[in-house]
Each structure stands twice: as structure tokens, then as C-alpha cells.
Symmetry: D2
Subunit: 241 residues, 4 copies
């Protein structure tokens, strides 16, 4: 099926990225850009196990050369396929007293949340602009966090990166919405229910379901262009906020 | 089907209210609370035409007595039916230079956006708290507007009312989320495509589709309690913001 | 000094209102509108003890008739005096689980934060518009709180009122700024150091100084019209936020 | 006066930086960190002309080595002098359609608003923490812009940088406020009245006065630690917002 549309997802793993890949693979060929094969392979397996198709490209989103190479590989693999959706789900993390934060921590966070988000946007927007003939408006979604709207003590550097990504998503929504591309930002406010948080002592359903995040992303993607959502938040019912 | 769940919608008419009624009537018996039979009847007809059931009760949401009577009528009509969803879609409007705004304008706006939203919440939350056994978490949604987050010159009084409704929705989300009730607020940022705006010279699809708003409300309603959205915005792709 | 300008303050007592009266009395004749003589008298005494002049008028700001009478009394007392500044510092309070909040609680809060703020604005803006010849731009300041920007569980009704006041202040700033009237809003985020909070076990200086609030209000008042601040927040250094 | 406290200002020139230097030089020895002698010299001259003392150090705030060298030079020049205030006023600028923005534009903006603000904070906070014995609480102020709270089309990259700086200021305010350091952020919303904007056809006083910005910064600096402002906005009375 050479012209089946593509969904390009930066940032995979066992949580939100996997669920998003799963959900979008029901309609599209999924491309996974992630740092290592170790994080890509389980996503590919899971997608294929449910009858979808996924293709992984180890990519360092903070590197212009790596991003350029990845998009050349996509073009080579799926020549002529339009891109229906792109999701920037790549993550960074930093929690430390400010004076114990090194410049390299700052650079690492901004390599992903800043330069990485910028490079991914530059690479995907031209593809999305060329996909306005598809069933749903072409969509670019960014994954945010509590820190996207609130900078807390010891999370200053992490928050600075997340605020930068959110600003990027807002400016892009305003510039490319009128050109028919739907740009959204999701604030994930709470602990996500993934293998890595299994040991955290929470009530049964007090963690965010990555599948439900994926459903929200799919809802965003299917909104008609009369009715675009820029931003929504999600949190578990039990979350204090 | 005596125990088919209810969806109670305050504020009907030919736009968003009608679309919401339509959408929720696919699963629930719909109750319409609106000021006059003239605004209720077209909604009932439309719902019934597509095979749903709707029941209208002329109600002044700004009056405690009228709201009390309405909920007694609901109970009498559908004894034992649980309430799956409630939508506060009642509207007010005021656009005027501030010094030309009379106290009665202020009172009219706050009768709906303030007291009306308060009374509707007081009446529906106990019903929603009793409905946690249904397929989807019980849901209370408030319809907001651009003015819910921005007070512009000449819209001061309207905005004051809308900010009050939004605060109400946020406080209720925080208090009743942990009790299993999903409270949401939707910022409708743009002109809605309804008969009353037909003459406005806009591009073909530069107005918000009320059906797409209804789809967003339904998506909110179906989110599992692990993953509640408090707020989302919607606007046409062409909207400047 | 018949034409000494006036500063009109709604909401007095032993805290912020008294400090504001004190501060503005260094330059202006101060008018105190407060519910009872019991709250007015200590302010008058304190102002006079430091050589200023203050005049109190028992006023229910939630009553149109009472507000009208108060401004007639001001005019009779100080005919021809321009109004340099007006401060809406009247307070309400409500903390309760939502379902235990009665309609009369809602009405009480909105009587002050809604109708009261509206009536005070309607009465003072024409006076301020006529005062553009004075040393500083005529100024209208509203006192806000943490709840002005965040609706927490059990503070829903209080927050709804505070959000309404904040919206009012923003709309008025946008409408009357271009006409030369400076409208501001101050978010007082923390416990104020007043007699009523003496027993609260806080560190020595972890409560907000009402005199420092008054200094901030005076700074706002003295800003030239090239450089108006709409909003600032204040909180004690030790406050968690 | 070897122990006269210091005020360290990053970003000088003929506008806000010069006015801030002027204002703070009434009480402190002022240090100017700016890219070139050409931007430093007029500030030094102006400060000295009014009887103050200023010392300039050509500095590239985006370079760790340059910032380290600058603070060594400060220490060598004023051994034992406490630092009373620090102002991050360094600017970047970018206005372009997103797809015409190169990675080097992104890097340039984030070199100043991101890494530069980070390095300046890391260098000044330890000095400020050691200055709690001075007359006013030690203060760190960041200069923001309209784009700090709103990402507009064609300003996406600029806004992303400004949002990052604002997040930094909020996180630092929360972390270091309880340690006695006052961190603030000022949103400068409008055109500043500087030589570079002389030709812009505005009404007489419809541009922001850099001296009034400096007065606001001085007010922030003199707030007692009971009553810290994190953020204020300033705009000309005539500004549409």
C-alpha cells in the first residue's frame, strides 16, 4: 500500500509513545524516531502484533544531521506517502536544586525540548502542508507536562524547556492553522501508568492511562478544521491540582 | 427502557445546544432546560427525527424556584434513571461601553453565568455522584467562550460572568474529580456556524461547527477516570488569536 | 484646602484598607466607604493621628442605593475636589464544600466581588476621567487574592467572585487606559499581617505587610501613563506557590 | 567606599539598560555586562555624568567562559563588595515565518534567553544569597516582553526563548524566595521610547518610558521580604491588548 499515509512519532518507549503508535497504526503506517533500537523495537513488535505496520529509525532529535538523515530515510522507505500526523513526544527530565544544575543539564533538556522540537517541526510542517487532501486535517501534536504551565522549585530547568516547547506549539498553531495544519499541545498532568511507575504506591486507577492519552490525540487529529483544539490537559481523577 | 441514563442540558436553541442534544441522544434520554418552548421544540423535533428521545422543561436557570421545579419534573418523568451527563450551555451576552452598562445588564449576565451555573451545579452534582456505576464517568461540562479567558474593552461585563463560570468549573473539577465526577470547561473561541450567523461574510468553513463541539463534549464524556481533561479550547483554523 | 484631591477607598478595617488610607492620606483627602462605623473609625483615627484627613461613610457596596448615597455625600462634603485615586478593597469570604454552600453564600460573595465592584467602578470612573490634569494619572486599583487566579476545592464560590472582579479590572484597564485612567489589579497571595491573624503560628516575617501592599499601590498610582502596570502579585518570601 | 554594594546588569545600550543603570547607580556601584564597548560606553558616561559609578565588562552572556571571566573581573575590581541586585536585561530578537527560520536563529535566541539567562542566574544567585544583610532584600530581575506570555505567528522562536526565561524566573522565585532572594519578572508590553524607535509614528506618550521601567524595577528591589512581587506587566496607556 504505497500511499497509505504516515504518522511520524518522535519519542517512543513503553508508555505514551507506544500507545500513540498503536492508536495511529489503525489508520496509518507509523514511523518511530527514537534514540535507540532498544526503545524502538518493543513499539514495532506491539504495533505489528495488532496488525499494523511500524518502521523505526534511531534518531537523536537534538541533532540536525540525525533529523535530516531520519527524514531522508522516511522518504526512501515510503516514497510518495503523505504524512497525516506527527507527534513530538520526545522527553527530557531534570530535577535538582538550581545551583546543582550544570550547564550540560540545561543543554541536555534544551537539546530535546528546544532544538529537538524545533527541528522536528521544521521537518514535518512541510510534509503536513502537502497533506491537506487527506480524510482529516494534517496534525502536529506536542506532549507537554505539568511543568509546561508551572515552574516549581527544583524543576526550573525542566520547566524552562517545557515552556519553550509550549510556546513553539502556540506560535505554530497560529501560523499554520490558517494554512490548514492543526497544531496541538497536551498537558499531561500526573503520573503515567507505565512499567517504570509500577512500583509507585498509587490507588488502582490514579495514574494516567497512556491508551487514553492516545485516544485524546486521535480525537484531536480527527477534529475538522472548523473546530481545532490547540490545548487540552489530562490528569487522573484523584490528582490534586 | 425506564433506566436509560439521562443527559441534562441547560441552554438549547439552534446551535451548540441542539448538536449536543443530538450527540448525547444516541446513548441517553436527553432533558432540555431552556427558557421557552420556542427554543426547546426544535431540539426535541430534531432529536426525535433521528430516533432519540428528548424531553423539554421551560426553565429560568437564574431562578432557584424554577430550577428546583425543573429537577422535580425530571424525577417525576424518569424515576430511577441515573444521570450520565450534564451540560451547562446557557448563554448570556453583553457588549457595550462600560459606562453605558446598567446594573440590570450586570444582573442579567450574572443571573445566567453566575447564579444559573451555581444552581445547575448544585442540582446536578448529587445526581452525578450517584451515577458512578455507568459505562462512562459521570460528566458535567460548561460551555465557555473567548471571553472566559480574556476581558476585552466593551465586553467587560460579559467577561466577568464568563470568568466566574470558568472558576466555578475549575473548583468543581478539583473537588469532585476525586469523587469520580468529571467536570470540564470548553472555550469556544470563534463564531459558531448557526442560522443566526449565516449572513456573516466568512469563508466557507471559518466558523465553528456545532456538531464538532458536540463531538468534543462526547470525547470528554467518554474519557476514563484515569485521564480527565478539565479544559480544552476550540476555534476555526482561520481564526486569528 | 477645598480642591485637595480625593482618594476613595472601599473596604477598610485594620489591615490593608487602613494601610492604604494611611499611605494615600499623605497626598490626598481620604474617603472610606465601609459597612460600619466600627470598621471606619479606627481608620479615621489612625489617619488623623499622622496628620492626614479622612472621612468615612457607612456604605453597603452591594446596594445601588447605598453607593449612590455615598457618592452624593462625597460630593456634598468635598464640592469641586477631583478624585485622584480609587481603591476597591472590599472583601468577601467563603470556604465550604460546594454542596454545603447555599445560594445566599453565593449571593453574598457576588454582592461584594461582583455587583459591589461593578457599582464602585461605575461611580468612580467618571470622577477619574475628569481628573487627568492632576500630578499622577487617575488610578483605580482592585485588591485580589490567590483565589483570583486559582479556584481550589472548597473555595469555588469565593474564587468565582474573585475571578469576576479580576475580569472586571482587565476589561476596564483596556477600555479606560486609552482614555488616561490607570486600572490595576493586585494579587495578594498569602496571609496578611493584621490583628486577626496574630495567633497564626508563622515565622516572624512570613506574613504580608499591609504597609508594603500600600507602598505597591502608591507605586502603581505614580506610574506615568507611558508605563501602566495592570497586574502584580505579592506574597511573603516564605510562601509556597 | 570599598564595600558599597553592587548592581550587576546584563544588557545595556541606550534604552532600558541605561535607565536601570542610572536608577540603581544612585545607591550602588553598577556593573554593566554587554557584548561590546560600543554599547557599554554610553551607559558609563551617562551614569558618571550624574555622579554615579559604573564599570563595564564586554561579555557574551551565551558563553560560559565569557560569563565566568566577567564575574572574576567583578571580584577583582570590587573585592568584598556585596551584590545588592542583578538584572538580566539582555535581549534577542527574531521575527520571521517559521519555515524561514534557520537553526542558527533558534540557537542565537536561546543563547541569550536560555543559556545566557541560566549562566547569569548561576553566577549571581550565590552572590545574592550572601547579601541578605543589606538594606533591601537581594534582588534578581528579568526583563520580559509581550512574547513572554503570548506566542504569535512569526514570533514563534522569539517567544519560545522568552517563555523559557519566564519559566526560569518563576522556578527561581519559588526556590530562592524562601532563602531570602527576591526574583522578579517584568513583562514589557509595548514599544519602548528609545533612540531606535524615534521614527515610529506614535502619539507623544504612547511609548513606554525606560525611566519608568527603571522606577518599577527599583520599587521591586525595595519591597520587604514580607511582600515580594514575582511579576508585573507594563504598557503604554494607549496600547491595545
Amino acid at each position: 500500500m504505497p500511499t497509505k499515509p504516515l504518522a511520524i512519532i518522535a519519542g517512543a518507549g513503553t508508555g505514551t509513545g507506544l500507545s500513540i503508535a498503536h492508536r495511529f497504526a489503525r489508520a496509518y503506517n507509523v514511523i518511530i524516531l527514537s534514540r535507540s533500537s532498544a526503545s524502538i523495537d518493543p513499539v514495532i513488535s506491539a504495533v505489528e502484533a495488532s496488525g499494523g505496520a511500524a518502521y523505526g529509525i534511531p534518531t537523536d532529535v537534538s541533532s540536525e544531521a540525525s533529523v535530516t538523515a531520519a527524514f531522508s530515510a522516511i522518504k526512501a522507505k515510503y516514497p510518495g506517502s503523505p504524512t497525516a500526523a506527527a507527534v513530538f513526544n520526545a522527553g527530557s527530565w531534570n530535577r535538582a536544586p538550581f545551583l546543582e544544575t550544570a550547564l550540560e543539564d540545561w543543554e541536555r533538556v534544551f537539546g530535546i525540548q528546544g532544538r529537538g522540537a524545533f527541528l522536528f517541526s521544521k521537518a514535518t510542517i512541510p510534509l503536513l502542508l502537502a497533506s491537506k487532501h487527506l480524510e482529516y486535517p494534517p496534525t502536529l501534536i506536542f506532549t507537554g507536562a505539568t511543568a509546561s504551565v508551572k515552574a516549581s522549585a527544583n524543576f526550573t530547568v525542566f520547566a524552562a524547556g517545557k515552556w519553550a516547547t509550549r510556546a513553539l506549539s502556540q506560535g505554530l498553531a497560529k501560523e499554520f492553522g490558517p494554512q490548514g495544519v492543526h497544531v496541538s499541545h497536551a498537558i499531561i498532568d500526573g503520573v503515567i501508568d507505565v512499567p517504570g511507575t509500577k512500583e509507585w504506591a498509587f490507588d488502582a486507577d490514579a495514574k494516567i492511562s497512556p491508551d487514553a492519552i492516545a485516544d485524546a490525540y486521535w480525537h484531536l487529529h480527527t477534529q475538522p478544521r472548523t473546530t481545532f483544539t490547540w490545548e487540552l490537559d489530562v490528569r487522573p481523577y484523584a490528582e490534586k491540582w
